[in-house]
Amino acid sequence: MTPLVLFYIAGAFALGGAVGVVGTRNVVHAALFLLVALMGVAGIYLLLFAEFLALVQVLLYGGAIIIVVLFALMLTRLQEFSSGVMENKQWPIAALVSLGAFILISVAVARSQGGAITDRAGPGVLLLGESLFTQWAIPFEVASVLLLVALIGAIVIARSGEGEP
């Protein structure tokens, strides 16, 4: 009973935040609504006994990513955003992609079995760390190399703008 209520609360936060992100005309408000949505998702992780994942969600999305987004927004000229224009020429493509993703997720959810509430705890941090650094070491390293490439690329783009080598 209680987990179900908590699930609906967390889900309401996630959905409400998501609606806020696309609905608001203020870019900074959109970024903060995104934070609400991501915290709702963290709550759902918590209900699924994935404490570590929930805390990683809070740390990475709540702390790092939203702050970097806000930082970038504060550095840009906000007059360009405040005109209230919310659509551009690419909206049919965006609608198509969103619809496709929605259908894909719906089919995946509908075809997966289960859905009952269990009280089984997931693997602990110890098991997670062990499998991440032994069995899944190479995918883990590939992901870090991807992030490194993105980082170096960002620095190269930023520096080439100044006319420096």
């Binding site: 809070v58 702050i67 504060m74």
Partner: protein, 374 residues
Amino acid sequence: MLRDLIVITIQVFALVTALTAVVLSLVWLERKTLARLQRRMGPMVVGPHGLLQPVADALKLLVKEDIIPALADKPLFWLAPLVVFVPSFVIWVTIPFAQSFAVRNMELGLFFIVAFSVLSIVGVVMAGWGSANKYAVLGGLRSAAQLISYEIPIIMVVIAVIMLPHSMNLVTIVEGQRAIPYALLQPLGLVIFLLAGVAEVGRTPFDIYFAESEVMGGPFIEYSGAHWAVFFLAEYVNTFTIAVLAALLFLGGWAFPLMPEATWVGFLGVLVKAYLVVLVIFWFRGTFPRLRIDQLMSFGWKVLIPLSFVNFGLTAAYLFYGLSRWSLALASLFVTAAVAYTIYRRMTWPARATAEQRLAKARAYRRVETTDAR
């Protein structure tokens, strides 16, 4: 169910009350310490030795008019103090003061603290944005840059601590220090933790995001009355959090040789250690001038972050090769001493250069004078 709810409410209420009392004591202690460092008396009028001064200040703050700027982004302006305040209190749920003296002892306690303390940065940035003031926006930008940068060394140091007892549970970490506190094994870790922690709560050598002479209070420039009091409360609670974490992670917490095993002794031990760390933080404030923003960023990225990786590497080598404790302690101490000496030379360099220049000038002058006389 209902009983649990009532118990939790009472516990949280007690926690908030205790933390508010701690904040009042810290305000008094800070004013007194700074006054002593500057050969003043500090507050003396309200109560014996000014003990009731913080209470009077708090009452004054609460009855002051709460001004909201007309152009402010009102929802953000209202929410920002809460977003700063709630995470800094929520993390206290898992901080233990004795072996079985915490509201909730969590298996992932330390990670919980690190993850939630990052959330309050969002509140500072919201305050900066919502005030519709250019100094506030500048302060918000500065705070985002500073707090994100100094988060990295803190996390790396915390990981190095977690590696020693193989646990993120704060009680297990303290119990792991029965034989030897981690301050002796990782002196480098303690130094990085304190410096980055002071930067993380934005106290004076690192307070560039609300520096009065540069951005005039930064994100908090438009706040007044009770709203400002909430920020003030959060700042002091965060300072105390850093001090208590330093006491628990490095100074052995309640586990201390030559102390009897009792909850109240352990509680007092943690409190005494935490207040000693707080005194060191106030001493920093009274001693060091504020860093420039470029110095702050280069200190974070070029000194603290590489050092935190060195600390991590030393601990990893110690654990992987099963070396003796002495080797880790000596290696860490050596790196700390080398870094401290380098920083000392760099800091005193302008003074030394000027002194040498003047000495050379005086010598040249005397040489000219003596040749003339001849």
